[in-house]
């Protein structure tokens, strides 16, 4: 693969964590394996039909792999989130992802506050979250808007379009435009390759502008290789043509890889550590100090309270229904009791009549 000129990262053997989030079937697993050029993640196994309709929860699992990018060794941790978006109700899955991210922050916060710190403590904070959008061709779905909105304050969110080979070039261009319009409209603070016109040099401004214009990245992944012109190429073979993963005309994969594992790795890390973590830390510490004062509402909490309100409404309605059923049941029970009592009366009358008859006719 040709090496594009890039800024060198002075540090050797860098630790970097990427989380991939997206509904099943958006190409997450294949992307990760394509990125790492090896079977880091195993594909969804769905052997028995009994499990097809079973709603499993989300399973967040990290995997480690060693990569070399442009002479630099990277200790990459990939966190996959299989099971997201598959259930009928996906609210719980949201919470799980959020909790995972915050737990890593909590861990390091606790570690930093220790008197005797562990020199071999593993920093598991997620530096970049790749969110896989389904290529509908329309705009973002409610689930996409909700999740990205909630996660963006905690992690660098980079939206990508999975299985982008299902869109024609014209459809892709229009789709990208609409997705970015949605992101703008709903104020979703994604990682958009920020640059400072005054401070940064010409080359990096150019670079960032290009990358920003490519958002969301159109990804095609493949674990299969075929021979094209004597070379082994990663590709997807269709009856009507061959999609090459590493061909920039066919997919943005190469550019994305170069950015997150190369040119912008440092930026993503420092943003996570210096900005996102610090924000979380401040919020958490001030919350524990002023535990009874609910100030500085975090965006994700607002979203949570809204859905809580809707849920409360639903609960109230269901409670009312249950109460009506209860009342009806009570009424029926009372009626039956009346009938029973009436029957008992008649029975007692019969018995007393029989008894008096027996008395009157002694043998």
């Amino acid at each position: 693969m040709p090496i594009t000129p890039r800024r060198r990262n002075k540090v050797k053997g860098v630790q970097f964590t990427i989380m991939v989030v997206g509904a099943s079937g958006t190409g997450r697993t294949t992307f990760v394996n394509t990125l790492c050029e090896s079977d880091v993640l195993s594909h969804k196994v769905c052997d028995s039909p009994e499990t097809a309709h079973v709603e499993e929860g989300i399973k967040i699992k990290p995997a480690n792999v060693e990569l070399e990018e442009d002479g630099l060794r990277i200790a990459l941790t990939i966190v996959d989130t299989p099971g997201f978006g598959e259930n009928i109700d996906n609210e719980h899955a949201f919470q799980e992802i959020m909790s995972y991210l915050e737990r890593q922050y909590d861990d390091i916060l606790a570690e930093q506050s220790r008197i005797k710190r562990n020199p071999r403590f593993r920093d598991n904070r997620v530096h970049a979250l790749l969110y896989f959008i389904t290529p509908t061709g329309h705009a973002l779905r409610e689930i996409d808007i909700e999740l990205m909105r909630r996660l963006a304050p905690r992690v660098n969110v980079i939206p990508v379009i999975g299985k982008a080979d299902s869109l024609t070039p014209r459809e892709l261009k229009a789709f990208k435009k609409r997705v970015m319009e949605d992101i703008d409209h709903y104020d979703i603070p994604i990682y958009n390759f920020p640059y400072d016109v005054e401070e940064d040099d010409e080359e990096s401004i150019q670079d960032n502008m290009e990358l920003r214009a490519m958002l969301p990245f159109a990804i095609v992944g493949s674990e299969e290789e075929i021979e094209i012109d004597g070379q082994l190429v990663r590709a997807r073979i269709y009856p009507w043509g061959v999609v090459e993963v590493d061909n920039p005309d066919h997919s943005d994969f190469v550019r994305l890889r170069a950015a997150i594992l190369g040119s912008h790795l440092g930026d993503l890390k420092s943003l996570t550590e210096d900005v996102l973590y610090e924000t979380y830390r401040t919020e958490k510490l001030s919350r524990s100090v002023h535990s009874d004062i609910r100030d500085s509402q975090i965006l994700p909490e607002e979203m949570a309270t809204q859905s809580v309100r809707i849920k409360e409404e639903q609960l109230r309605r269901e409670e009312e229904k249950l109460r009506e059923v209860e009342l009806r049941m009570q009424r029926e029970i009372n009626e039956k009791k009346q009938e029973l009592m009436a029957k008992e009366m008649t029975l007692r009358n019969l018995e007393s009549r029989l008894a008096s008859q027996n008395q009157n006719s002694p043998y």
Binding site: P49, A52, E55, D89, T134, H138, A139, R141, W240
Partner: protein, 313 residues
């Protein structure tokens, strides 16, 4: 009573022209076909309908601008058209279900759909039972439900299993794999095998059904159809030029998908199945199986209600 013996008249009578007499009457009246499309936004439902009938019949209900609000529930939208082909008038009712399966919480998003289908049976029954009823009752009963499966390549989702099961109890369900041009041939076959396994396991009864009346060739045709279901389809309202011919297709940087090519996708199979071989059967089974089931349940319930009333007094 035994079946009367068939006899041949001594000379030509001419009553065999009744087939033309019927055809003439039917052509004047026209035919009614109602179809509902169910699936998540962006799976190409509107495009497929427009491709099948080779006309722009319905618009996509997707959200195309950031200002448009996100739909919070499943809506039911019906559109009517009349298409004429060689003097045959086809009245089409296309029911779209925007908002289905698009929310974070999709509990009961299928209720409006099931209700709509049952409401059409109910409306027909009411008209049937009216003392002074119309000569020809307007048929709004849904004859076919196209269920769109996401081309994940893995298996059915829990929501697909639940909804297809419920739908198959009230309407003829024909599942299709949407946007199948995102799957390689290998992936497609594996996906289909998985789906078929799961449909069988969950006892989801799909159209076509075999009845005792069917002849040998009909049974064979149905078997053939069953080996293709779910149909892997690609839709397009745009034309591309392939080998000098203008066909409906999708042009990419790496090739051209020909919608009408059977080696690319199964659109032609679906189109022929729906319009050229099973159109009449779809209408008939809706009346004879689904509507009858609904009708007997309703009438039995009515009878129960009538019987109970004198007791309560």
């Amino acid at each position: 009573m035994s079946v009367p013996e068939e006899i041949r008249a001594d000379s030509y009578v001419g009553f065999d022209s009744i087939t033309q007499q019927i055809e003439h009457k039917l052509l004047k009246r026209g035919f009614q076909f109602n179809v509902i499309v169910v699936g998540q936004t962006g799976l190409g439902k509107s495009t497929l309908i427009n491709t099948i009938f080779a006309s722009h019949l319905i618009d996509s209900k997707g959200r195309f601008s950031a200002d448009e609000p996100v739909r919070q529930t499943t809506e039911i939208q019906a559109v009517s058209h009349v298409i004429v082909e060689n003097g045959v008038k086809l009245r089409l009712n296309i029911v779209d279900t925007p908002g289905y399966g698009d929310q974070v919480n999709n509990e009961n998003c299928w209720d409006p759909i099931i209700k709509y289908i049952k409401d059409q049976h109910s409306a027909y029954l009411r008209k049937e039972l009216t003392a002074m009823r119309d000569r020809y009752i307007q048929d709004t009963r849904i004859h076919c439900c196209l269920y769109f499966i996401n081309p994940t390549g893995h298996s059915l989702r829990p929501i697909d299993v639940i909804v297809m099961k419920k739908l198959s109890e009230v309407v003829n369900v024909v599942p299709v794999i949407a946007k199948s041009d995102s799957l390689t041939m290998e992936e497609r076959e594996r996906f289909k095998a998985k789906i078929r396994e799961e449909l069988v396991y969950n006892s989801i009864r799909l159209y076509p059904f075999d009845t005792d009346e069917d002849e040998e060739e009909e049974v064979q045709l149905n078997e053939q159809i069953r080996t293709i279901v779910p149909f892997a389809i690609v839709g397009s309202e745009n034309n591309v030029i392939i080998d000098g011919r203008s066909v409906r297709g999708r042009k990419n940087r790496w090739g051209v998908v020909n919608v009408e090519d059977e080696t690319h996708c199964e659109f032609m199979h679906l189109r022929n199945f729906l319009t050229r071989t099973h159109l009449q059967d779809l209408i008939e089974t809706t009346a004879q199986i689904h509507y009858e089931a609904f009708r007997s349940k309703q009438l039995l319930a009515l009878k129960e209600g009538v019987n109970q009333r004198p007791q309560q007094q």
